[in-house]
């Protein structure tokens, strides 16, 4: 009887340790991320930003060249009797204002559209990241707010950033 006691006790100890390790590893965690970093590093955001900047720069070039034409035209008007030139100047100025207004509205609209698209995808990938890692909560903070202290080990910004970019590229299923 005594011979059996020690091995049985050892086996029981091993089983309880294994159970504790399993329980601990399965426990849902709360982590935090710098959402501003995740957003800024998101590939889709970078791609759309580049596209947006490109369009904005082309539009600015068009406006600049119209403005230059206006300046040249205004300098060529020497007297009030220069009716033809004055009319041309006014027409051009109106066209310039109209174009500027159109671009402004279109830029705002595109900006909104891109933001909607980015968040639609990003929020979905974040949800998947959370469920895949069995997190209970993911707290998002920006550079100067919300999480006043957090153990660095619970900061999963880099992991999330990498996951959402892979998910966007199609490499993560």
């Amino acid at each position: 009887m005594n011979k059996l006691t020690v091995p049985v006790a050892l086996i029981a100890l091993c089983i309880s340790i294994t159970c504790m390790v399993m329980l601990f590893s399965q426990k849902q965690k709360t982590v935090f991320v710098n959402i501003e970093t995740v957003y800024d590093e998101f590939l889709m955001k970078k791609e759309l930003e580049a596209k947006f900047d490109n369009v904005a720069s082309v539009r600015q070039q068009i406006l600049d060249s119209l403005k230059l034409e206006l300046t040249i035209l205004s300098k060529s008007i020497t007297s009030k009797n220069d009716v033809e030139k004055i009319n041309a100047f006014q027409a051009k100025r109106q066209a310039y204002s109209l174009k500027e207004q159109n671009y402004l509205e279109s830029t705002e609209q595109t900006n909104e559209q891109y933001k909607t698209q980015i968040w639609k995808q990003l929020s979905q990938y974040i949800k998947k990241f959370g469920s895949k890692n069995n997190y209970q909560y993911i707290l998002g903070f920006e550079n100067k707010s919300a999480v006043l202290y957090g153990d660095e080990a619970e900061d999963v910004t880099a992991e999330m950033s990498s996951y959402v970019n892979n998910a966007y590229k199609g490499d993560e299923k």
Partner: protein
């Protein structure tokens, strides 16, 4: 000593045979082949879901198309080889776009009837300009594009796509759809080359 050596050699041989058997491709009948390809766990059907829209890309090997045609009696057995040749030089896909909030994809988040017709026109004519396939280092536009209209009978629409193969080499395939009407933006869906290489053989009885 000799018996021991023999035993260990036999063991090695058994392991090799088991490995070879497990590495070999499966042979499947038409119905099983179709089910295998459509089974998401085999990697040829990949889904990407968002709040209100779900994209599902199905990679269709030539044998899958043949199997479906045989099941539907669209071809005879003696036509298989010629049909295979006809289909052989392209990668085929079906892209299914589904609404998870509406009965009709065409009407998801629309604000006016005009928007419905604009979407219809886009799906029928212009969408193909926003789709391409990255096959290895090549980026290919679709040679085949067909929008399957269902007149609101289902919450999804299917788009049949075909791309000329960049090479005979099997690569990872990335389907890229630059969405213009459903507010999801650019979508990338990947079919792994390992999953393409592991496609079973179709056995036609």
């Amino acid at each position: 000593m000799l018996i021991k050596e023999m035993k260990s050699r036999i063991q090695v041989l058994i392991v090799i045979i088991i490995c070879l058997c497990s590495c070999g491709k499966k042979n499947l009948s038409t119905a099983d082949y179709v089910s295998w390809v459509e089974n998401e766990s085999n990697g040829l059907s990949v889904t990407k879901s968002f709040e209100d829209i779900k994209y599902r890309l199905l990679y269709k090997p030539v044998d899958y198309i043949l199997a479906k045609e045989l099941i539907n009696n669209a071809i005879e057995k003696n036509e298989i080889e010629s049909r295979k040749k006809e289909l052989g030089s392209m990668n085929y896909f079906t892209l299914r776009i589904e609404s998870t909030t509406s009965n009709e994809l065409m009407r998801v988040n629309i604000k006016s009837e005009d928007e419905y017709y604009h979407r219809l026109e886009y799906f029928m004519s212009y969408m193909q300009d926003d789709i391409y396939l990255v096959d290895g280092t090549d980026t290919i536009s679709p040679n085949l594009f067909h929008f399957e209209r269902n007149y609101g009978l289902a919450p999804f629409n299917d788009f049949v796509l075909g791309f000329t193969k960049a090479s005979e080499k099997v690569n990872d395939l990335y389907l890229i759809y630059n969405d213009q009407v459903l507010e999801t933006g650019k979508i990338n869906i990947k079919i792994n080359k390992a999953d393409i290489s592991g496609i079973p053989n179709l056995i036609i009885n």
